[in-house]
């Protein structure tokens, strides 16, 4: 939005919680700085349902810095398939879930997907994915090279009759539009890119917006209240200058919120007024509701040769044969499988995080543990990103008991699993184990799955909470991501997703932003804003 609006001649003030980190801040692969670099102040609470006590912690992988979580994203760039925009029509109502169709369809988004792929330099092989959504144009860059781990996973998948293909990644496989090719340094997702080969706001859109001279970017600016004018329009944003510890206010004619599906409803719910006692733009009562993550299932295994997971990107190969919804499997919906190097891209992640899943009660010190450490280069992993169904009671609200470092109530996550999730998780677990076996697994373990005992508390894919729709009583924003209640308030992030799809969300967030920006600019030119 910033790139498009400044490009169209609008003056934009951008408020971002946290610092403006740039390439020099990212040169180190130092594991002791990983998470604390991006969101040192992040606190959330979680509970499975309204009757349970909350836990306090950090459950979501988000980045409080300029560029947002894309500053450290993996780069997986999927187009949703057409049925992912009409889940209610495709499946019919499901008890306990709040399925919906999107007010837009794939055809409307297709040109914007293309736009996003070309702006961010997606590397891929469109012809190699037998299940990809129809497209008018291929990817701008050839697919990224494999590592041994991805080849071994692909070998296993092929033996089972699946058709693995290079994952589409918004990471330069060759120099592209003034940005260098990736050096395949291994510590990718979770780290900032030291060379700007990864397509992010830091490398793509903000440099362009800066050249217009129309962007007033204010890092370390924590927005905590959108003020409403007497005319019912959003008037200003109050924010905390985090460096000076001063409150400030910025006035604007149009206000766009893009704080991710937790930060956005958090800000709206904080913005209470006489007209909106339950939070701004919340006449539907749906702000914060229908929170969706993804059902994540991961199987890790060792092979009899170096898999070299410490090289390359987060993901190299994908398998989409298991994605299509099939109720005969005992659940609806599904998702994509990719080869991943989390958390074994670096030794500490492997030693500490991965071992808790590998262990199964095995001793996490001593000679046996040292043997485990020696398997670090041999690890391959396959992860499934699966559709999480929207549920009314799964939501973000303001925690009445826990405040952050600034005294603001923290976002409280209420999220429990639909029975569909549990059946889906178990089914994919079994399929991934088969792929591991077929890929020559020596030892196998399951770092991620969703069961009654292991519910999802967060993730890096956060959706819902301000759903897009045509009926103002059943959605928060309209098809142009404009609030039904407040005409100059826009929400342009995955909050507006009515359903969560079986793909990583970022390319769809970008494509939708290009679509909304086109509309914004056209309406502004007509004087209709």
């Amino acid at each position: 939005m910033i790139q498009e609006l400044t490009g169209a001649g609008f003056r934009v003030v951008a408020l971002q919680r946290g610092p403006y980190l740039r390439a020099p801040d990212f040169v180190s692969d130092d594991e002791l700085r990983t998470a604390s670099l991006f969101s040192p102040e992040q606190i959330e609470t979680w509970r499975p349902d309204a009757n349970s006590p909350t836990q306090t912690g950090r459950f979501n992988f988000v980045a409080h810095c300029v560029g947002g979580t894309m500053a450290e994203w993996a780069g997986l760039s999927w187009r949703f398939r057409s049925d992912e925009f009409r889940v209610l029509s495709a499946e019919g109502p499901v008890p306990g879930a709040n399925l919906a169709d999107w007010p837009i369809d794939y055809e409307e988004l297709e040109p914007y997907y293309e736009r996003a792929e070309w702006e961010y330099g997606v590397a891929g092989d469109a012809a190699a994915n037998p299940y990809g959504a129809p497209r008018r144009r291929g990817y701008p860059n050839p697919s990224v090279p494999d590592r041994t781990a991805s080849l071994r996973l692909a070998r296993g998948a092929t033996r089972l009759g699946y058709r693995p293909f290079p994952a589409p990644m918004a990471i330069n496989s060759r120099p592209y539009r003034g940005r260098p090719a990736c050096t395949y340094g291994g510590a990718c997702s979770g780290y900032g890119c030291p060379v700007g080969a990864r397509g992010t706001p830091l490398s793509v859109s903000l440099p362009r917006a800066h050249t217009t001279g129309l962007l007033d970017l204010r890092p370390n600016s924590l927005a905590f209240q959108i003020e409403l004018g007497r005319d019912g329009r959003a008037r200003s944003v109050r924010y905390l200058d985090q460096e000076r510890r001063e409150e400030r206010e910025v006035f604007a004619r149009q206000i766009v919120v893009a704080g991710n599906a937790i930060g956005t409803p958090h800000l709206l719910l904080l913005s209470r007024s006489a007209s909106f006692p339950d939070g701004l733009a919340n006449s539907s009562g749906l702000v914060g509701r229908n929170l969706m993550f993804h059902v994540l299932v991961q199987v890790s295994f060792t092979i009899d040769e170096p898999a070299l997971g410490f090289t390359g990107l987060e993901n190299h190969r994908a398998i989409d044969d298991l994605h299509a919804s099939d109720p005969r499997r005992g659940f609806i919906r599904g998702g994509v499988v990719t080869e991943v190097n989390f958390p074994h891209k670096q030794p500490l992640g492997y030693a500490l995080l991965s071992h808790t899943d590998y262990g199964g009660g095995r001793r996490n010190w001593g000679g046996a543990f040292k043997e485990y450490l020696r398997k670090f280069p041999q690890v391959v992993a396959a992860a499934a990103v699966l559709e999480d169904l929207p549920m009314d009671e799964n939501r973000i609200d303001l925690d009445p008991d826990v405040a952050d470092a600034y005294g603001l109530p923290v976002p409280r996550i209420t999220h429990r699993q639909h029975p569909n999730d549990l059946a889906m998780s178990a089914w994919y677990r079994a399929r991934l184990l088969e792929i591991a076996d077929a890929g020559g697994a020596v030892e196998t373990w399951v770092p991620l799955e969703v069961t009654e005992e292991k519910p999802t508390k967060g993730g890096s894919h956060i959706h819902g909470t301000c759903r897009m729709g045509t009926d103002p009583s059943r959605s928060v924003v309209d098809r142009w991501c404009r609030s039904h209640d407040v005409p100059n308030l826009w929400i342009v992030d995955a909050s507006v997703f009515p359903t969560s799809s079986g793909y990583n969300p970022t390319l769809t967030i970008l494509a939708n932003a290009f679509r909304v920006a086109d509309h914004f600019v056209a309406e502004a030119k007509k004087g209709a804003l």
Partner: protein, 204 residues
């Protein structure tokens, strides 16, 4: 603002585990201290020997170096001097406990025990079931987990933090070091068709 021990205990619960908290802490002051000197900053000579012996059982020496050769105790000394100073009470409460259990079980100080005896002492601490434990402030399993995680971080974090001496930890696990700043990897290296040059200049 430095953490207090109370914060630590509370936040460990928040984060679900001690290691998650300890892992994701930047330690620039410990880093600088380790660059300046290998001298003891916090631990006394006896404490140093005792901590070193414990680390030696967390990651034992076999045909390859372990935590002792990697100088994990030096890492622990440096972080206790700075960013992890809030854990000093955990160590000061725990170390006499180690000696108490060693004396009770085997009649000798920990550093004089054989490897199996030392492991038996640590397993008792890990279990948390230690009737003779002398510290009211620090639980035995809490102390053990702090030393365990510190040892692993010392073994595998960048050598600049004072452990992982001569890249001992990275050599054991087969990690060539962070190559991002050194140009990353070639496509041939990513599939094992070309040697990888470690950051310490070895071809593997």
């Amino acid at each position: 603002m430095p953490l207090t021990r109370r914060d630590f205990v509370a936040r460990s619960a928040f984060y679900g585990s001690t290691f998650w908290l300890l892992w994701n802490v930047p330690r620039p002051l410990a880093f600088r201290a380790a660059q300046e000197s290998g001298q003891r900053l916090v631990l006394t000579e006896d404490e140093w020997k005792l901590v070193e012996a414990i680390t030696g059982r967390i990651i034992p020496t076999d045909h390859e170096p372990g935590a002792i050769e990697a100088n994990c105790v030096n890492f622990i000394d440096k972080v206790l001097a700075y960013e992890d100073a809030y854990l000093k009470p955990t160590y000061y409460g725990g170390l006499p406990g180690v000696e108490a259990v060693s004396e009770e079980r085997f009649g000798r100080p920990f550093v004089e025990l054989g490897a199996e005896e030392q492991d038996a002492v640590l397993a008792v601490l890990e279990s948390g079931d230690v009737p003779s434990w002398p510290s009211a402030q620090v639980a035995p399993e809490e102390f053990f987990e702090a030393v365990r995680v510190h040892t692993i971080i010392g073994f595998l974090a960048d050598p600049s933090y004072g452990g992982n001496r001569e890249y001992a930890g990275w050599k054991v696990v087969g990690y060539p070091g962070p190559r991002h700043a050194l140009g990353g990897y070639s496509p041939e290296q990513m599939i094992g068709e070309q040697n990888i040059r470690t950051i310490w200049g070895e071809e593997v």
